[in-house]
């Protein structure tokens, strides 16, 4: 990563990969990619590839983690060692621990956990290839994998990043779905998730430097893009359901 900072990330309204500020990268959704799991999905955002698998509801160990009134949604976000430029040591570090926590909180909001008191619903979010926005790609995958597992949900979780790029004059521009260069060099990186039907924001993390107005503008762009992703999720689930019922 001894790379030089690029002169611009956006120029004439076009980003480095040709996208407009409000464009997400090509998104692919593959359902049921891990047959062993109770539910699974792979979500691809450009060069970012993440697989989520769900096991459960199942018995919860260790005992002191049991919640009497509802199921506990546990998330383990991890990166394959070769998913990044420099080999990542196996096993979660502090970054992965934090991400696992906020993903679990977002998913807990939509899972109807009270249907499964004392049980565990385990979600494994595994980054196969990282090109920024891995946690939000993973959260979409997790939402789909939960639905694939037949876990009753209040809504889907729709997630993407947004942030602040700069043009050749150093002027900031809000953009959605950051790729690697924008994440490395941009002036703001926001991980964001909504439950559209509930009208709630479930994930919000930011590194950067933005004004309140910039933030609001980005959020509006993200909300719009989220609706597209929401539709994709629903289409993928419908197709999966129809395939299953054949």
């Amino acid at each position: 990563m001894g790379d030089e900072k690029p002169k611009f990330l956006i120029k004439g309204g076009k980003r480095l990969d040709g996208r407009k500020p409000e464009d997400v990268r090509p998104i692919q959704i593959k359902m049921g990619v891990v047959p062993n799991a109770d539910g699974s999905a792979e979500v691809i955002f450009g060069k970012t590839r993440v697989i989520a698998t769900v096991y459960g509801p199942r018995e919860l160990h260790p005992r002191h983690q049991v919640i009497n009134e509802r199921a506990r949604v546990r998330v383990r976000y991890d990166m394959m060692t070769f998913s990044v430029e420099d080999r990542k040591r196996p096993g979660p570090g502090r970054r992965e621990t934090e991400i696992s926590k906020v993903l679990a909180e977002a998913l807990t909001r939509v899972v109807i956990t009270e249907k499964y008191p004392t049980r565990a619903i385990d979600v494994f979010v595994t980054v196969v290839q990282a090109d920024a926005s891995t946690r939000v790609a993973g959260l979409n995958a997790a939402s789909l994998a939960l639905a694939d597992a037949g876990i009753p949900m209040r809504d889907l979780v729709v997630s993407l990043s947004f942030g602040k790029s700069y043009d050749e004059k150093g002027q900031g521009h809000m953009v959605v779905d950051l790729e690697k260069e924008e994440d490395n060099w941009g002036m703001g990186d926001i991980a964001y998730a909504v439950a559209p039907a509930l009208g709630e924001v479930l994930l919000l993390q930011m590194d950067g430097d933005v004004t309140l107005e910039e933030f609001k503008k980005g959020k509006t762009m993200a909300d719009k893009a989220a609706l597209e992703i929401y539709e994709m999720q629903k289409r993928a689930l419908k197709a999966r359901y129809e395939e299953g019922s054949k």
Partner: protein, 262 residues
């Protein structure tokens, strides 16, 4: 956030109080507790501070040493922020490796300081590729009563602001902590405001019982009126309006908070 149970009675008392904009300790929903900061409390540390925020109390210390830079950043020093939720400070804190609560706390405080550009780590270079300053900020709650995010950020900033640099002799490789005079190079100051969602209200600077009674949390790091760090926590959602409300209020609060850090 923390698994202790509070009674349903207390829960509804807290909610009613927030609804009436008169919290159980008498504060309005947009009011911080009294803040007191004492610096230079640890002679052994290069910088230190104790922050008292109501009944929450946090101690932060800065230790500065010399190490080798990371391979991919040969001319940058290293800044590390770490939170230790020592079991001394609350009966729900457990000994052992930091759990996800401590990791999140440390990373959110670290994020504000890093993203605000408080420290230009390039100024911590002694000899490119060979020797750089390593600045460790560790903080511990001395009594935990909610909102360790904001108290921790204040403590870290106050400790850093009053810290002095050791000297280092490149030839002999001797680090000297006697007669430290120079301040640590700092470019700006950052503060954080944390909100808890209780009912559909956002209350600032929650006590621990308010945290138990809340369904979501939002921490906002502010530098010069800009937002530099955000972290939502908790199993509930926030509406877009609640977020905007919190951000606006955090920008306002930042001015008062900054006054506490000389």
């Amino acid at each position: 956030m923390i698994s202790e149970i509070i009674s349903n009675l207390e829960l509804s008392e807290i909610r009613d109080a927030v609804e009436a904009n008169k919290r159980l300790d008498g504060r309005k929903n947009d009011e911080f507790r009294d803040i007191k900061i004492e610096t230079g409390v640890i002679a052994k540390a290069e910088g230190s501070a104790v922050v008292t925020m109501g009944k929450s109390k946090v101690i932060a210390g800065v230790k500065i040493s010399v190490g080798t830079p990371f391979n991919d950043r040969p001319n940058e020093g290293v800044l590390m922020v770490n939170a230790e939720l020592s079991p001394m400070a609350h009966n729900t804190f457990e000994a052992g490796r930091p759990g996800e609560v401590a990791v999140e706390l440390a990373r959110v405080v670290d994020r504000s300081i890093r993203e605000a550009g408080v420290m230009d780590t390039k100024k911590l270079c002694i000899e490119a590729g060979e020797a750089v300053w390593i600045v460790n900020i560790d903080f511990y709650p001395l009594n935990a009563d909610g909102n360790l995010f904001d108290a921790g950020t204040l403590a870290a900033m106050a400790a850093l602001k009053t810290a002095k640099m050791p000297t280092y002799d490149k030839e002999t490789k001797i680090l000297n902590r006697e007669n430290m005079k120079n301040a640590v190079p700092m470019d700006c100051t950052v503060v954080a405001s944390t909100f808890a969602k209780i009912g559909d209200k956002m209350v600032v600077d929650p006590t621990m019982h308010e945290e138990y009674a809340s369904v979501a949390r939002l921490t906002v790091g502010i530098r010069d009126g800009n937002i530099v760090a955000l972290q939502k926590g908790g199993n509930g959602g926030l509406t877009s309006e609640q977020i905007d409300d919190a951000l606006t209020r955090a920008i306002k609060h930042s001015k008062n908070l900054l006054k506490h850090i000389k």
